[in-house]
């Protein structure tokens, strides 16, 4: 994308005023998004991103900027204006850029650019039909499909010069069911850092029927009655609990500033003994996986919590200088417009020894949160919330009536200690995670877990 010699020249310019590290991140990205509403194709839009970002570090101070113009003149001008914000003498750092090849964790066979719009829209139509035809109570279905081919170049004054391709595809449906004037929605997506072959391997008909079924069930459901419950959170997207309640607070973004409830707790017990939590960016073709992170470093399988003990934070290069903690291959940015920082990839609880059936059977009274929605956390206080999109009551060890409108709240430090059962049925859900460096694809995952003593909100009356 940008020749090695040119990168070398620009990076040298960056260091002239005393910077001790400089980096170029260039990208050329093509995104398409399609929408099918009520059986008609209502959107087919294309977006191209084309920009180069430069950052200079001195210690952990950072100066950064970007431009859309890849010419040498433009990049030198940017490098010069950024270096003016760094004060000092040239440290005389010498480096030679060496071309590196990224690992091969994610690869696309049916690349987005190799398919026509019609071929892509066919996947949406199949999903639409399955979802819409499930029941007369399904009053509307909106299917969305996005694909993205991101080509990146990362070069830095440690001598790194690496190019990588990412292909993100994601297909989803949102079903609206209407029963007696009660409109409820359900949605789900399939996504991967992969080509369109991902959708060939999935049973789109069953996927659509399950979404429709959830919407219809919720339209018939009673309102959740608020209170303190034992909550069984199902596998897959249920992993949003770990993502929100804990791992955001393990990101260097908040830990390096001392702004996390988990600061200074490495080696200490922060979760119940049965809890092992992992962030793994190396899972083949998974939505949150990468061949290399946005600093050009290989992604890792990072064990964050092992048998309840905090083992690692998620750390990028700049924060590693501050925290005296090794980098974890977790540096990510939405695109060149955001400065990179430590983020999650695919985050999940490791499987436990219980079975799903046993967990239900052993729960006398509680809430079964089958499908979770999104949530948020305040890393300073550790207080989190998330929505239950599809819930059921558990009574005398059996799943009984559906309930809607439940919201779970709690504090991250407490909830991890209150997990008392973990099943063996690990699976994943796909989300977009928004934080300091923008919105990025991340997978959340877990086996079914049981949590004691959670505050559940709802509109129902006792």
């Amino acid at each position: 994308m940008i020749k090695k010699e040119i990168c070398q020249q620009v990076l040298e310019e960056c260091l002239k005023t005393g910077g001790d590290f400089a980096e170029i991140f260039a990208e050329d990205t093509c995104k398409n998004n399609y929408e099918l509403t009520g059986g008609k194709v209502t959107q087919a839009n294309t977006q191209n991103l084309h920009g180069v970002a430069i950052r200079i570090l001195k210690g952990f101070k950072e100066v950064n900027g970007y431009t859309n113009d890849f010419s040498l003149d433009s990049m030198l001008k940017l490098a010069k204006s950024l270096s003016e914000a760094v004060s000092g003498e040239n440290l005389g750092i010498k480096f030679t850029l060496q071309e590196e090849k990224p690992a091969c964790i994610v690869k696309a066979i049916k690349k987005p650019s190799s398919l026509t719009n019609d071929e892509k829209i066919a996947y949406m139509k199949k999903l639409y039909n399955a979802t819409k035809e499930y029941s007369d109570e399904v009053s509307q279905v909106i299917c969305t499909l996005t694909d993205e081919e991101q080509h990146v170049l990362i070069a830095n004054t440690l001598g790194k010069y690496i190019e990588d391709d990412r292909h993100h595809v994601r297909l989803g449906a949102n079903a609206i069911a209407n029963y007696n004037g009660q409109m409820q929605t359900a949605s789900d997506t399939i996504g991967g850092n992969s080509g369109y072959e991902l959708f060939d391997d999935k049973d789109l008909v069953k996927f659509g029927q399950d979404i429709a079924k959830a919407a219809v069930t919720m339209a018939h459901a009673d309102e959740m009655v608020g209170g303190v419950y034992t909550v069984v959170i199902h596998n897959g997207f249920g992993g949003v609990l770990l993502h929100e309640a804990c791992v955001h607070s393990l990101e260097a973004t908040s830990v390096a500033k001392g702004a996390s409830v988990f600061c200074g707790k490495l080696g200490q017990k922060i979760a119940s003994d049965i809890v092992t939590a992992i962030d793994d960016g190396t899972r083949e073709n998974q939505w949150g996986s990468l061949n290399c992170d946005d600093e050009g470093n290989p992604t890792h399988k990072n064990v964050l919590i092992e048998n309840g003990i905090l083992k690692s934070y998620l750390v990028d290069y700049r924060n590693s200088r501050k925290m005296n903690h090794p980098i974890t291959g977790s540096s990510r940015r939405q695109n060149y417009r955001y400065s990179p920082t430590s983020r999650m990839t695919n985050t999940f609880f490791a499987p436990g020894n219980d079975s799903f059936e046993d967990i239900i059977k052993k729960t006398k009274f509680g809430l079964f949160a089958k499908k979770m929605g999104g949530g948020s956390v305040n890393p300073s206080t550790g207080e989190f919330n998330f929505a239950v999109n599809e819930g059921y009551m558990i009574e005398d060890g059996k799943i009984t009536k559906p309930v809607r409108g439940a919201t779970l709240v709690g504090s991250g430090a407490e909830v991890l200690l209150n997990i008392d059962m973990i099943a063996d049925n690990l699976s994943f859900g796909h989300g977009m995670c928004g934080s300091a460096s923008g919105s990025i694809p991340t997978d959340v995952g877990q086996p079914t877990i049981r949590v004691q003593n959670m505050v559940v909100g709802g509109r129902g009356a006792k």
Partner: protein, 439 residues
Amino acid sequence: MDFQKLIKKAKEEQIEDIEVYCEENKNLRIELFNGEVEKNSLQNSNVVSVRAIYNGKMAYLTFEDENMDIEKVIAKLKENANSLTTLEEFEIFGGSESYPELPKVESGLDKVSLLDKINLLKETEKIAKGLDKRIVLLPSCSYSEAHSKTTIVNSKGLNISKSTEYAALVLGAVAQENGSTQDGFEVKVVLKYDELDPKSIAEKAVKQAVSMLGASGVEPKVYPLIIENEAMSSLLGGFSSMFMGDAAIKKLTSLIGKEGEKIMQDCVNIIDDPLMPNSPNSQPFDDEGVACYKKNVVENGVFKTFLHSLKTAKYFKTKSTGNGVKQSSIVASGINLYIDKGNKSKEDLIASTKEGLLITDLSGLHAGLNPISGDFSAQSSGYYIKDGKIDRPVTLIVVSGNFLKMMNDIEEIGSDLFISPSGVGAPSIKFRGLPVSGK
């Protein structure tokens, strides 16, 4: 890229109409931590979005590479248009008869040196640290400014531009005492640099953090509830899609066919005012070149109109309300959408409450609400009110309700209208009763 050449070429290629929307941005951002500049960003971008009507369908293409080949742009637009099967009709607009003039504001941003901007941050941090011993950390203290110029050029002969400039100061403060940790966060966005006041920003963030120390839950039951202005505006923001033309086309709002009907209490007026002074969102015309004007969405409780872009207006055989806003395509959106204020101060609302809650923060609304049904359940914090006075801070409770039902269960609307930087606003509102869950 030469836009006139693109337009000419497109017409030669049987494109019916074409429009270029060009956005030039120049941003600065400075982050301070413990008295030192930690990050400093200089950002320049130039984004071109083209939309075109081909075979009656509207396609969109956005690009940043100014060397993009014109032929490729046209081919991609045609391919995208050919994929559409929607029955919607589209229009590219030749321009309104006249455009309102917004007052000219001298931002003064370019007259202040970088060093002075850094000093402003240092001062903010220093004041905040000195205000209360229980403040242990200021995890975010940042200054940002944006200069943007948008130009719309199209084959109907329109060629207009609009600019905005604003500065923002952000402060986050963390307070600790007796094992309790709480934080406060204040954002101030201004059109004139001189209006940034470090003292008031520091005081607000610090007060918010400190006053929440020792917060606990409440007995779960139905409480009279005052939702403070900022929290109320985020609630309106979460449900604003119910008033939008796009939601109406997709049947994702319960307000279809209810124009002219009473949907809220008499005292409720919901207004969209794109010409409001002192808002960074104010603009003379929308992103389709349609002149902006102030309008009532809800007037004395009666639903008056959906907000429309050209497309949604055509679908409902009405006129655009000048609310076409550029996202990945043009969608109808509020520009400065707010619930109008009442007469009583927030203090009066509290004083008239024997037992109740003042809710200052609603979190997780992006996930915990259903914009179609109006239902929501949100993690909340605030204060317990006893005998007309604030008694103690409360946190980790869940407030649940239905937006439309609530707007029919108002006891009193406050006078403290707040407009968020994203252009959604509300005063504090007291509701007769809402269910609250917690430990």
